[in-house]
Every structure is written in structure tokens, then in C-alpha cells.
Amino acid sequence: MALRFIAVIVAIRMIIAVLIGVPIPGTNLFTLPTLSLPDWIAGIRIGGPVTIERLLSTLGEVMIIVGVVALFAAATSLASPHRSIRALPLAFYQLGLILTIATSIFPQLVASIKRIRLARRMRGVEAGGLRNWRKIAMPLLEDALERSLDLSAAMESRGFGQRIKRTSYRPDSWGILESSILFSAAISAASATVLAESSLTMVISGGLAGVVALIPLSAREKTYVENSREFDGVLS
């Protein structure tokens, strides 16, 4: 899942690099026909000669992006939003909870939209088109409102907000996975500052960080799969 995502990022960036870019002189690989653009965007060139240096420099940039994405993916795979709000100071707990619930609404909204569109189809009206937006928006909003009222009623009757102080059921543990992510983040930060000058070293540093981050990531790949299954379940 995460690997596929990274591959797509690399592919898109490389294709764009070949087509559009700032000319960097060096060994010429091949030359594309140049598209002439008006004067006011003179800095950009479409087509033209493609050099090894240009590809390498883009690869370096891509590797940094990959490194960042991999690190973020690894970090989020460790903590669901529900888990991460526990790390917040108590003063922010309520705000954090509101944000968490708000984000968890999105998969529900997607599920509701799907359901309602199916229902629309079964009333003989093809979905899509701006004219139909109200017919989907009305039941959707009513649904969302009903859900949030139910949720707030449930939270209120379970004593939420009764005490200013809260306790935590299970303090989060610091494990080897957490350490390895922190470690890979440190490596990438260090290599980025020390070796940032040349394009080849950038490739090495970004790639290294990405690879290190992939270790905990692959350990958690199973969780991803499970989660995406659940998501299918929600949609079905």
C-alpha cells in the first residue's frame, strides 16, 4: 500500500522532470522537441534536451519527498488519531477529541454518500450532475446531523466533560518501532543538513531515510491491510 503510493510519487515526478524543467548542462541523453511558450513564462521550458545531471538532480528531490512520505506513513501507522490525542496535554484533550471525531466522520460521510447515491439510482435518477446535488445533500446532512446528535448524547450520558481532570486507561508504551522511526527521522535530518549540497548525496540521504523508515512500516503493513478491509466493510 505505502510502497505503491511511493512508486506513484516517483513515477509522476520523473515524468514531469523529463517533460518540463530547468535546463541543466551536461551529458545529453536524448532531446525532445521544444514547445515554444510566450515570453512571460520564459523560465519554464517544455521539452528540450534531457541530461543525466537533470535526471539525477530530480531523483534527489524525489528521494527527499519519498523520505518524508515514508516517515509520516510510518509514524501514523503507529498511532491512530485516537491514540495520538492521548499524548496531548489535558488542556487540549477536548479540542483533540473534537478534531479526532471530526476526521473520523469522513469515512462515514463517504459511506453515506455511496449509500444515498445507490438509493438515488434505485429511484430511477442517475447520480451525478449539479442539479442533483440537493437530493444527495439533504439526506446526507440529515444523516450527519442525526449521527452527531446521537454521539453527543452518548458522550454526555457517559459523563464526558464532568471532570476537568481525566485519567488515562493505558499509558502508551515506547517500543522498538517508535525508536526506529525516531532514529530514521534523525538520520534523514542529519544527512539533509550535512550533505545537502550535491545532488548525488541527496539521493543517498533521502533514499537511506526512506529505507530505514520502511522497516517499521513493513512491520505495520498488516495493520494497513486490516484497516482497508474494514473500510471496505463500511462501504459495503
Binding site: 471525531i101 445507490l118 429511484r123 440537493r134 457517559r158 459523563g159 464526558f160 488515562s168 486507561y169
Partner: protein, 533 residues
């Protein structure tokens, strides 16, 4: 424990009262059942008990409600959290966290109970509700019955003295419902907790109840022992109807009682076999070795069956066995991996718009999804427009099916049963060859169910059409269907005449068949007819 004194309630922007001068008491450690027709205020009564009404919903409350000596008027529901636990109609809407254990601990975290006490309580509750194997699962991955148990655990963890549940079994299959109810009974007996449940399907719960609060359709409230209330209540499970029809003096509430009281003296013999199935009408639905599901998961495996015109077919099976998926595929809404599905010789996926609705009428699990108008009249006018009918046709049908409907009402203000009938009217105006209903009786009372039965019967009798409905309601199936398809884990395990299929499995057998076993009688009216002959 709970006392209502001269309670009246009126909601904002409403012209009629929900309760008017209601007085009753519920004692400690009782299993209380709250019954009444839809829209008579069962949910409101539960929410009054923990103060969600009027603190959370608004409204004017007259009189006084005391719970454990505290007046709900003076405190907010949160302050009663240690005293009352409440489980709403859709527990999934009320979950705050994503993991079972953490959800259970949520209330205790809010009340700042210290960590070691919290862990001990969570362990106890997990054991009590048999949730230990599921403790680290995410809540969305659980089945309906398991989610219901998590919601009960989350309410019980505070050691409340009262537990309120709003239709805890309406979304559950008979097996899961039985599990939840026996756990509730254990809670009453072992912990002395007062349990109040609102429920429509009396046949599932009445034998557990020690006391019944009955809200009659004129708004009056009666409290008494189940036997007392069942003597005269307008709503009654089949067992009570049988006892009333046969004039038994003692009012039986369980199958065992009924057999003891009178059934063993009745010799009915065997029912005459129904007319032969299949082969009469032409095939409306043809399914050949179809495997169905979603990209990541195959739900139905190689299913083959045919449904002919004139048939009412019930699709049964446990939660998550693939009933909804099958219905959706027949309506052309889900993926067919292999094999084929044909409705009246057409591939349902290729149909759209007008062609589709003339062939297939589909009532989804949430009938409200089909509605978006601001009044019943507007809704019907939109349906006329969509279906290219002459103006007024849909409203005519709606008024015929539901005479008391007021065209100016907002569809959301209709009761669950009325809304279903309105959706049925909209779907039926095009006279589709195949009518599909997904769980039509969630939240329906007996009266609405009878109405549904007569509409569907009339439908297949007059038109060359077929009805396919998925449901957990065995009594409805016994009354309505002629044929049952039973699905387990994505495979068709039995397909046959309703009598054979229903009496073959204990949890899916209707009450009458349990009473007269081993004879295969299904409904009260059948038994009465047989006795009169």
C-alpha cells in the same frame, strides 16, 4: 428506583404532548420491558429517565422524575453517569474511540477514576460480557451483536444501578439477540441492576420481563406484571394471541408455559402441505453460480437459484452472512465476479433510469435514504416526476396504503412504520416486476407489520411480480413468505418451503411451531383455522 410523578412532556415546535400526567414506579433489580406502538414515546421515556430529555433535546417537562432519589430536573445526564447507563438505538453512532477496551474505559476516564481501579473494572466487564477475545479489535470490525455487547459493557463499566436499552435486538439475528438478552438477564440476577429495555419484538423479550410498562395508543401508561398487561394490550406476541384466541385462563409467556398450560391437550395433526413451489410463474430472477462481493472480499460463493413470479421469498441468515450483498447484486448495485444474475432476462447492471425502476423496486435498509423532499406531498410529486407518471398518482397510492397520512408532514417526522409505507408507495407506483426489501421490519410495530404483509400479499396476487425480502424477523417470515432461502457464510444452505426451513432450525423457528412441535404449524391464524374445522 425510578419514579415518574405526574410527568408531562412536550417537545419544542410540537403541538401535541408525548406524555400527559404519567405516574409510575420501577423497583430495584427488576427486568422491565417498555412497550408501545411506534411513535408513542418509548425512546422519550428512556431518555427522560437519565435526563437526556429535556436537557439534551429541549422540550418542556412537567411533574417530577426521581432516579435513585435524585431529580433529573436538577442535574445534567453526565452527573448521573455513575448511576445510569444508557445504550442507544444505534450503538455504533455512540462510540467515541476505536478499540474495544478503550471504548469501555471511556466513561471512567471522563470521571477521572484512577488507573488500577479502571483496569480491574474493564477486566470484570470484559469477562461478564464475554468480550475478552475481542478486547483489542477495532469496533468497526465487529458484528452487530458484538457491537451491542461492547455498548452494554461501556455502560456497565461504571457499575450503574440502572441500565437503559433502546431496542437492543432490533438489528440482530435471532441467535445474537438471544445472546444479548441472556446476558442482560444475568446482569439483573447477578448484580441486581435494574434493566429497562424498550422493544418491539415481544416474542423475543417478554419471557425475560418481570414488569411491563405499556404505553397505549391513547397515551395512557399502564404498569404491571407481564401476564396482567398481556391480557389486554393491543400489541402481543404470537404466543399471547394464541392464548387469547383459545381462551386460556392462564396467560403463557414462554413456549414452556404454553405447552404446559394448554397446547399439549390440543391435537392438531399435521398441516396440509402447501402448493408446490417453482414452475408456476415465469422466472423473474435467475442466478447461476454467481460469486459476489467487493474488490477485497468475496461475500457470496457460487450461488444458484431462481425466483418466479407470484412468489414471496424470504432471505434469512445471521448478521454478516451476505444477505444485503445478494440483494444489492440482484438490484445491480454490487460486483458480480463470476456466474450471472438476470432479472426478467436482463442484466440488472446494464439497466438504468426508467428501465431499472420498472423492473426492480428496491427498499434499502434505511428507507429514509430514498427521501429528500420537504413534505410527503412534495416527495410524492417528485416521484411522479421521476417516474413520468401523471401528477398525484404516487400520493393516491400513499394515501390508500396509509390513510391517516398528512401530506403536509415532513418525511422525517413520520414514524418508522409510516416512512417505510411511504417509501413502498413511491417504489410501487411503477409496478416493478421484482420488489426487494432489505430488513423492512427494523423498528416496526405489529400494526405496521400487518399493513406491510397485506400490501405485499396484494402485490404478488394481482401482478405477475415477485417479492424478495431479507429479514431477521421469523414471525414475519412465517406469516408472509412461502419460500425461504437460508444463507450461511456466503453459501446457500437451504432453499425450500417456509414450513420445512423454519421448523428445521431452533433459533429460526417461530413461537407457534415451537409450541406445537413436532407438528409443523407456523402461525396463530393457521392453528385457529385448523381447530375450527
Amino acid at each position: 428506583m425510578i419514579s415518574f410523578r405526574k410527568v408531562s412532556l412536550i417537545y419544542p415546535n410540537s403541538s401535541s404532548t408525548v406524555f400527559d400526567d404519567v405516574t409510575f414506579e420501577v423497583g430495584e433489580g427488576e427486568f422491565v420491558l417498555l412497550i408501545g406502538a411506534t411513535g408513542m414515546g418509548k425512546s422519550s421515556a428512556l431518555k427522560l429517565m437519565n435526563g437526556l430529555v429535556p436537557h439534551h433535546t429541549g422540550g418542556i417537562l412537567g411533574g417530577d422524575i426521581q432516579v435513585g432519589g435524585i431529580s433529573t430536573r436538577t442535574v445534567r445526564p453526565g452527573e448521573l453517569a455513575h448511576l445510569i447507563g444508557i445504550v442507544g438505538q444505534n450503538p455504533i453512532h455512540g462510540f467515541v474511540t476505536d478499540i474495544v477496551e478503550e471504548e469501555i474505559a471511556f466513561a471512567m476516564e471522563s470521571l477521572a477514576i484512577d488507573e488500577s481501579a479502571m483496569r480491574k473494572r474493564v477486566e470484570e466487564v470484559l469477562d461478564l460480557l464475554a468480550l475478552t477475545p475481542l478486547r483489542r479489535r477495532t469496533i468497526t470490525s465487529l458484528s452487530g451483536g458484538e457491537q451491542q455487547r461492547v455498548a452494554i459493557a461501556a455502560a456497565l463499566v461504571m457499575n450503574p444501578r440502572i441500565l437503559l436499552l433502546d431496542e437492543p435486538t432490533s438489528a440482530l439475528d435471532p441467535v445474537a439477540a438471544e445472546e444479548v438478552l441472556s446476558i442482560l438477564q444475568r446482569i439483573v440476577h447477578d448484580l441486581g441492576v435494574t434493566v429497562v429495555i424498550a422493544e418491539h419484538r415481544l416474542e423475543r423479550v417478554i419471557h425475560y420481563a418481570e414488569r411491563v410498562i405499556y404505553i397505549a395508543s391513547d397515551g395512557s401508561v399502564r404498569v404491571g406484571s407481564p401476564e396482567e398487561v398481556m391480557r389486554s394490550a393491543e400489541i402481543a406476541p404470537p404466543i399471547v394471541e394464541l392464548a387469547r384466541a383459545l381462551g386460556w385462563e392462564e396467560m403463557p409467556l414462554s413456549v414452556r408455559d404454553a405447552r404446559r398450560v394448554g397446547a399439549k391437550n390440543i391435537n392438531l395433526g399435521e398441516p396440509s402441505p402447501l402448493k408446490a413451489l417453482h414452475g408456476e410463474g415465469e422466472a423473474v430472477v435467475e442466478i447461476k453460480r454467481a460469486s459476489l462481493g467487493y474488490p477485497s472480499r468475496q461475500v457470496i460463493k457460487e450461488l444458484t437459484c431462481t425466483i418466479s413470479s407470484g412468489e414471496i421469498v424470504a432471505l434469512m441468515g445471521r448478521n454478516g452472512s451476505g444477505k444485503s450483498t445478494l440483494l444489492k447484486s440482484i438490484a445491480g448495485l454490487a460486483e458480480v465476479f463470476s456466474g450471472e444474475i438476470k432479472v426478467a432476462d436482463r442484466d440488472p447492471k446494464s439497466l438504468s433510469g426508467h428501465e431499472l425502476i420498472e423492473l426492480i423496486g428496491y427498499v434499502p435498509q434505511e428507507p429514509a435514504d430514498l427521501l429528500y423532499g420537504e413534505s410527503v406531498a412534495e416527495e410524492c410529486a417528485l416521484a411522479d416526476h421521476d417516474n413520468k407518471l401523471k401528477p398525484g398518482a404516487t400520493l393516491d397510492l400513499a394515501q390508500r396504503l396509509l390513510p391517516e397520512i398528512n401530506p403536509a408532514t415532513h418525511p422525517r417526522d413520520l414514524s418508522e412504520g409510516q416512512r417505510l409505507i411511504l417509501v413502498l408507495a413511491i417504489v410501487l407506483t411503477t409496478s416493478p416486476r421484482l420488489l426487494i426489501l432489505d430488513e423492512p421490519t427494523r423498528g416496526l410495530d405489529y400494526q405496521s407489520k400487518e399493513r406491510l404483509i397485506s400490501i405485499l400479499r396484494e402485490r404478488v396476487a394481482t401482478d405477475s411480480s415477485a417479492v424478495l425480502l431479507a429479514t431477521h424477523d421469523v414471525e414475519l417470515v412465517a406469516e408472509l413468505a412461502e419460500r425461504v432461502l437460508f444463507i450461511a457464510d456466503g453459501e446457500l444452505v437451504s432453499d425450500g418451503e417456509v414450513r420445512e426451513v423454519l421448523t428445521a432450525s431452533l433459533p429460526f423457528a417461530p413461537q407457534v411451531s415451537k409450541i406445537f412441535a413436532p407438528s409443523k404449524w407456523l402461525t396463530v391464524s393457521e392453528v385457529i383455522d385448523a381447530l375450527q374445522k
